[in-house]
């Protein structure tokens, strides 16, 4: 019998997070700080709109690119939040989560051998998506000493004649790092000089703290034509299970993405699209309520980590902390496994997010303050124990 499998897919490593997931799942009473989704329920008025759309019998396909009302709301939202101007009819595409948008953007833009610059640590899907699009991932290792910001020098140093696309995953999962205007301007300058394109994954754009609101690279001069902006409803509106995201970008690229979407997906779920219209029309207050809550937890966690003497830079985005555990002389994976065994607290080893993650842990604060407090007490006890073993205080 012939091998039924494609070589390309077999060679792709399964997600590193999967392995840890299996261990944690066997432990029934573990407290997890390992989740990458909001702890809030989708705000009721948005759920209500979903229910209402089912009651009305809106159970058919929508047009491939998405409901007209939704695309218009998305264009308006991009304008009012991030000063981005897109033509709702031709430059907005509603997708099944941000993940689909990432996948089809790469497939629409890459030819075999094209190099894709991917900063890491970052969300797990960029390298496999690049490979599936016949591209070649080139990893840029984000540095703790730069608070895990991407620098223009790093981008420039990695450029070859085959470089085509730069992935910009900020605000960043797993580090919580963000890029500010000066960072973006310097990167934009390199991108324009070397005639590159940018895939800007802005799924956490609504979750930035300390008066640092998100800036989209597409809003900088000369960048709109070179950027695909990816965003969605999962993180900002606590709608992960609705599977709804979108891509915005120049018509020339979007119309090719639409082709893939149309053949592979048809359209995003209709019910979710109606709910999303409501989210964009009347959801600002919910977003700001959740943001305030995350911000309080973020400060609390940072304070506690520093109290424990754990090195941790202050993250200004998403809902993750990325403390350093290098002082204990073990790998992130070993640390996370031992923490789980001895204190039943689950965190994700930084290495699950690629290069640059060794020596760090991703700790999510998408949990109630009570849960966080309980988990932190256990973590504190654990590191005391380790320090005693090492004889360092």
């Amino acid at each position: 019998m012939r091998n039924p499998l494609s070589k390309t897919i077999v060679e792709i490593e399964p997600s590193g997070i999967r392995k840890f997931f299996d261990i944690v799942n066997e432990m029934k009473d573990a407290i997890s700080l390992g989740v990458g989704e909001p702890d809030f329920d989708t705000p009721w008025h948005i759920r209500d709109e979903g229910i209402y759309s089912l009651e009305k019998g809106r159970t058919f396909y929508t047009s491939n690119a998405g409901l007209k009302e939704l695309k218009e709301e998305i264009a308006r939202y991009c304008k009012r939040k991030y000063q981005l101007t897109y033509d709702a009819a031709q430059e907005v595409l509603v997708t099944v989560g941000g993940s689909e948008a990432i996948d089809i953007a790469m497939r629409a833009m890459l030819d075999p051998g094209d190099e894709v610059l991917i900063p890491q640590p970052s969300f797990v899907c960029y390298p496999p998506c690049a490979v599936l699009a016949n591209g070649v991932p080139v990893i840029l290792e984000l540095q703790a000493r730069h608070d895990f910001r991407l620098t223009a020098e790093q981008v420039e140093a990695a450029i070859t004649p085959r470089t085509k696309l730069l992935v910009l995953p900020f605000p960043n999962n797993p580090t919580g790092s963000i890029l500010e205007r000066e960072d973006l301007e310097a990167i934009a300058d390199v991108v324009i000089r070397h005639d590159l394109y940018v895939l800007s994954d802005e799924i956490y754009a609504e979750l930035t703290y300390g008066e640092r609101s998100h800036i989209s690279i597409a809003s900088l001069p000369g960048m709109r034509e070179r950027t695909i902006v990816i965003n969605g409803f999962s993180k900002a509106f606590a709608m992960t299970g609705w599977r709804l995201g979108y891509a915005c970008g120049p018509k020339r690229i979007l119309e090719q993405m639409l082709k893939i979407h149309q053949f592979a997906i048809m359209c995003a779920p209709t019910l979710s699209q109606y709910a999303a219209v409501e989210a964009l029309r009347n959801g600002d207050e919910d977003v700001s309520r959740m943001r305030k809550e995350y911000d309080g937890r973020r400060r609390y966690l940072l304070h506690r980590f520093r109290e424990m003497g754990l090195e941790c830079f202050e993250p200004y985005g998403a809902f993750y902390m990325f403390p350093c555990i290098k002082e204990f002389g073990m790998t992130s994976e070993a640390f996370a496994e031992r923490l789980l065994e001895s204190e039943k607290v689950a965190v994700v080893p930084g290495t699950a997010f690629g290069l640059g993650g060794e020596g760090f842990l991703r700790v999510s604060y998408a949990y109630s303050l009570e849960d966080l407090k309980k988990a932190l007490e256990r973590i504190e006890r654990f590191i005391q124990k380790l320090r005693n073993e090492h004889g360092t205080v």
Binding site: E37, D39, G296, R299
Partner: protein
């Protein structure tokens, strides 16, 4: 700052002041000072506990009474309200727009106790024109809190 403090303690008045200060990114002394000032100014009127009496086995009856009154000369609604809210069994009194004037919320041990209050104390007030007593059969949500037990975290334990 006040609004931020109030938003937090409205939902959790037992929160530790130090923790609250950390979450707001200010000094604990500032939070303490603001709290004391707001207590002084009666912005903060109390720190109560939300109890689901149904689960205790202790009998409690709550009634919402619609009251129509004639405000008398030299004695506006405020005076009438005062006559009503001074009774300790009265839980809340609101002046209402619409078909009646006051909404009076009353808590008693038994139906009888509540009806006695209405017939013997509330109705005989000379300004009271009529009352309509609505007994609460079940409390689903109170002070923004759903009374049913908290739902479990249904998220997967680890997700990217």
């Amino acid at each position: 700052m006040r609004e931020k403090i109030l938003t937090f303690i409205e939902k959790n008045s037992r929160i530790d002041i130090k923790e609250l200060a950390i979450m707001l990114g200010v000094d604990a002394a500032v939070v303490l000072q603001e709290l004391e000032a707001m207590e002084e100014e009666h912005v903060i009127c109390g720190y109560h506990t939300l109890i689901n009496w149904e689960k205790t086995g202790i009998e409690k009856v709550t009634a919402m009474i619609e009251v129509r009154v004639t405000p008398q000369r030299g004695m506006g609604f405020d005076k009438v309200a005062e006559r009503i809210y001074n009774y300790p069994e009265v839980e809340s009194v609101y002046l209402i727009s619409g078909g009646f004037d006051f909404m009076v919320i009353l808590e008693g041990k038994t139906l009888r106790e509540v009806s006695q209050f209405v017939s013997e104390k509330l109705s005989p007030l000379e300004t009271v024109l009529s009352t309509r007593t609505n007994f609460i059969l079940k409390k689903y949500k109170d002070h923004g809190t759903v009374m049913a037990e908290k739902s479990k975290d249904e998220r997967m334990k680890i997700t990217p």
